[in-house]
Symmetry: C2
Subunit: 638 residues, 2 copies
């Protein structure tokens, strides 16, 4: 690694740099890399189950649980270590995420001391493999409408968990098909004939010998596009009885007389509060997607740096792929976006750490901001992963299609990230809803718009704030030149202003459109639906701005001048390639002139050319140990 690459890595590694180094050693590929030979489904699942045990032995999973529950209480470190797993086998990452993050997270965050004492020790050491049984065959995004019921039977002081129909079958449940012993089952809680909305109940699904529990039917989702080591399955419950105390009762409880109580009166608010505690899953998926994308970029850019094709006129040496403009344009703006997302992810993890470490003292406002930002970054990071890994595969031609060169698995394994832990389209709607809640104050009567009613089910009630480094961003914007100034498009204030202005315009016009829903007799669904593309556009614009601001803050925090200078150019490439990609909007709305638009394109080309000599350093700075990526792509042919 060059001095420059080392300095940039320090900047990218961020707050948990020391832990990253530790994980780089602990997660060595001898133990956690994908198999070098094809395995059948059962062989792959068995391998991953063993790796989960080995991972437990490293002690890393302890970080994700508070000290009071037998953990290390390093939540940010936990998510960061998980991110590093994204360079190992992604089946392991997801399997670990389901067990410790989702199942363990449900017990820790939705349960109370009796569950913590009874289960967390064996969850932390992975001796009680668990499942997170939320999605159903008929309900994925709309969790509030789940069909599974958990009905209290006062005669036996038990909860009866039941699957009323095929649509209510638990589906795609990681760990269900082979290894899971206990499931955190999300179900409509019913006492005395009254429903209290979705709650979570612990249901044993297999006994210690691995035999399926009575009343439980387990199906196997079989082969999937990717993640072959994750044993996704289906769970059907036929009047399965569990003790009343198996209800995870932090936000809703039943006493021994069958009376339901909750610290949160409003059912919808209770539901979103419960879901909100599970935000770490989305943040973790965004992190893992980032790691996988950086693996792919490291492979494709390293390959493009030595692979040659076609001799130029008058030359004997064939041209190196990365010297072609079109090849630069395929890979370098994607690289810049990965940098931007890494800074945004670091900031998000840091925010999560601070909010969640505060426990019950956490500020609700900050909690809402965390949820919205997690949703937005997750959506953008996973879409970026799918697009970029695809580009990397194509940039490596036939070599990129061979399993031995890792890109196929990176692609197939991460593909589901765009639709699990929240479908990206639904998540972006949630982001927009949060932003509109902010605007309500300004518009007065916005709480009457139909989205509020329809959205109550489709959207969480999140609130979004301006991101950090506010003072710096404001100074840069204030010093920005006018719209058609002589200053080129690399002026940071101009870029920031443009991103912010687009978001504001989209939100304001969206809010105006949605006011129609407030009119008497308005068709609320029609009003919402006719604005739906606008909703998504506004959310994307918001997330783009948050990401840019994170990048700017990250550069500001970088102490090495040479690294900061290079990062500034990468940031230019992120900002300008984003503007170029959306130039239709900026031109349509008179935000840039045609002349400026052409300048932006020229600047993207120039930035690609000027960063090209640093391309290898920029991927080296991701700090992915070479042996983790040991493929034929990395070295030129002898």
């Amino acid at each position: 690694m060059t001095t420059l690459a080392t300095a940039i890595q320090k900047s990218l590694d961020g707050r948990w740099a020391a832990l990253r180094d530790e994980a780089r050693t602990d997660l060595d590929p001898g133990r956690f890399a994908p198999p070098s030979e094809p395995l059948d489904l059962e062989g792959y699942r068995a391998r991953i189950a063993d790796q989960v045990q080995a991972l437990a032995a490293t002690g890393h999973p302890k970080r994700g649980f508070p000290k009071s529950m037998g953990g290390n209480g390093d939540l940010g470190g936990s998510v960061t270590a998980f991110e590093l797993l994204g360079h190992a086998d992604l089946s392991l990452m997801v399997k670990a995420g389901v067990h410790w993050g989702l199942f363990g997270g449900a017990v820790a965050n939705l349960g109370t001391e009796r569950h913590h004492t009874a289960y967390l020790p064996s969850i932390i050491d992975a001796s009680l493999p668990g499942c997170f049984a939320m999605s159903e065959t008929g309900h994925g995004s709309d969790v509030q409408s789940l069909g599974t019921t958990a009905t209290y039977d006062p005669d036996t002081d038990e909860l009866v968990v039941h699957t009323p129909d095929l649509r209510s079958r638990k589906d795609y449940i990681g760990g269900a098909a082979r290894d899971g012993r206990m499931a955190a089952v999300f179900a409509q809680l019913v006492t005395g004939g009254e429903s209290h909305g979705v709650h979570c109940v612990l249901v044993p699904i297999r006994d210690d010998s691995g035999a399926t529990m009575p009343g439980v039917t387990i199906g196997d989702c079989g082969a999937k596009e990717g993640l072959p080591g994750v044993d996704n399955g289906r769970l059907t419950f036929d009047q399965v009885r569990v003790p009343r105390t198996n209800l995870l009762n932090r936000y809703g409880d039943i006493d021994e007389h069958g009376t339901y109580t909750s610290p949160i009166e409003n059912q919808t608010r209770r539901f979103f509060t419960m879901l909100g505690t599970l935000v770490r899953g989305r943040i973790s998926v965004a992190g893992g997607a980032g790691a996988a994308t950086r693996s792919a970029l490291t492979l494709a850019i390293t390959y493009a740096g030595h692979r040659r094709q076609f001799a130029p006129p008058g030359g004997d040496d064939e041209v190196i792929l990365l010297d072609y403009r079109v090849h630069q344009r395929k890979l370098l703006p994607a690289l810049a976006r990965s940098y931007a997302l890494q800074f945004a992810q670091n900031e998000l993890v840091s925010l999560m750490h601070d909010v969640q470490s505060a426990g019950d003292a956490a500020d609700e406002h900050q909690q809402r901001e965390l949820e919205a930002r997690a949703a937005g970054i997750k959506a953008v990071a996973t879409t970026h992963a799918t697009t970029t890994i695809q580009t990397c595969r194509e940039a490596c031609g036939g070599a990129g299609y061979l399993a031995v060169n890792r890109l196929p698995a990176l692609k197939a394994d991460t593909d589901v990230f765009t639709t699990f832990e929240g479908d990206n389209t639904v998540l972006l709607q949630l982001v927009a809803k949060g932003l509109l809640t902010d605007y309500r104050d300004a518009f007065g009567d916005l709480d009457t718009f139909g989205m509020a009613k329809f959205g109550a089910r489709q959207f969480a009630g999140a609130v979004i704030e301006r991101t950090s480094a506010r003072g710096l961003i404001q100074r840069l914007i204030d010093s920005a030149p006018g719209r058609d100034s002589e200053k080129g498009p690399t002026d940071r204030g101009w870029q920031l202003d443009l991103f912010e202005d687009r978001e504001k315009h989209l939100l304001e016009t969206l809010a105006l459109r949605l006011r129609k829903a407030g009119k008497p007799g308005a068709d609320l669904f029609a009003v919402f639906n006719e604005s739906q593309d606008h909703v998504i556009e506004a959310a994307r614009a918001h997330v783009d701005r948050v990401i840019l601001e994170s990048f700017v803050a990250g550069i500001d925090a970088c102490e090495d001048p040479a690294a900061a200078q290079t990062l500034a150019r990468v940031c230019d490439l992120y900002a300008l390639s984003s503007i170029e990609a959306d130039k239709g909007w900026f031109l349509e709305h008179g935000r840039i002139t045609p002349a400026r638009s052409k300048q932006v394109t020229a600047a993207v080309n120039d930035l690609c050319a000027s960063l090209r000599p640093h391309a290898q350093e920029l991927v080296d700075a991701f700090g992915i140990p070479r042996e983790w990526l040991g493929t034929e792509l990395l070295a030129p042919l002898a």
Copy 2:
């Protein structure tokens, strides 16, 4: 099927409609569908090898060879039948394409009677499984620089085939790893110490017992992202001797005295003529990509037509996915593009049939047009496949990720289509080069630009003409309203004019930029490279126009008024969503006003809504037998 769907299918089925019906019966999924249970690599390869034999027995492969060579001489029918195979197992499609299309095509088109007599019967009945050994580890796109040599030894009257280094190893060769007995090997032909450029030589690689021939080393590419049933491998030749007569000698021959002769003096021209005869491979890949994309759209649109999520305000029934605007926008413009591409593909196949059926009497001009159009349609159709199948997967959420629902295999199998049979980026450059050759006449001195020299190696010398239905298109353009007329964006003349105008502008400005290369001392590579993104843009604009014109011609030929009316709206959606996707360019170049740009977006939304009730009919009209797609996605849950 409704009457409307039946009428539209007739239009889409085109010239080889009868054959399509026949193939729909012959290729029944009981024999040619993907396996319902996971198979290991060897099991999958064995299955596909057996299916190839079954396919031979249907007689379809005969169509691809002239009557004079023992075939049926129905070239267009052959490519159409191959396209239908794209609905079956894509491993079978590719394996069949390699054997009959590429290997058989090389023998038929590059060989002469002695090869036809000796080999074609056993190629047609698949008793001599063959490979097409063109790509090398170090040379994929740049075929002219292949490293393998075939050196004439006058002492024994033999050709000595040799792999000088690792970069020259034949790589990714379908059929090499397991089944191939003979390979059509592309190599630099050398006689008396002089090289005559790339030629093709038949080299046995396994004997009748399946044992590897002496001097040949066979490697296995192993598992790939997709196409598990295709046994891609590597071939290394250590001074392998074959009779002189194994040279496929239609365009270059060695007599018994070792003298080289060719009907084409110029080596580069000879090379491109030889490659040109192999154009059917690209057309076939475009066709297969189209079929796979239509399968995916049928699955995703059918699913979206019954899958519900989230209840609207005041309603109990949850909303059907396809009623959401964002979901319509994901699927319906892609559907419209698939329609457009199908008409363009039909036209291309028809052109190919007429040109190639003419044999040596074929017009060279038409041959060049065919090559360029094949390159362009292949690039656009395969990129569309990758993007659209991805969208379809995501639109089906978790269900789309399950292997049993077909989308994973459709995605993985077709992914390599963007980079094999010509990398799409290289193919688009070839298209642009062909267009510029046209412009040379107008600009006079364009033959001095560096691209001509650099391009001589990178580009084939293709010439492109306006597509068919010229009179009709011209009438529509002539009657188009002015740029800011009151007529809405659905005026066909306006759309055609806009597409044509963009292409013309991009080509003219490109030609001007490239003139710099003509200056003394110009850095030819730099001039080319700095225009490379412009080159690709021009080519894409050209292909978009060709596709639109094909669609317009297809509607004109449709005899059912209701079908024609629906097709016209689908065509509007194709044209307007394409304009919307590139609105940045149109606005930047003053081709549309901001107001018109917003009208286009509104029109796309309106078209999505108005076609939504016909969505199921529009996928039914693809005529894919239901049982070929038998997955859980097709029917609502009980």
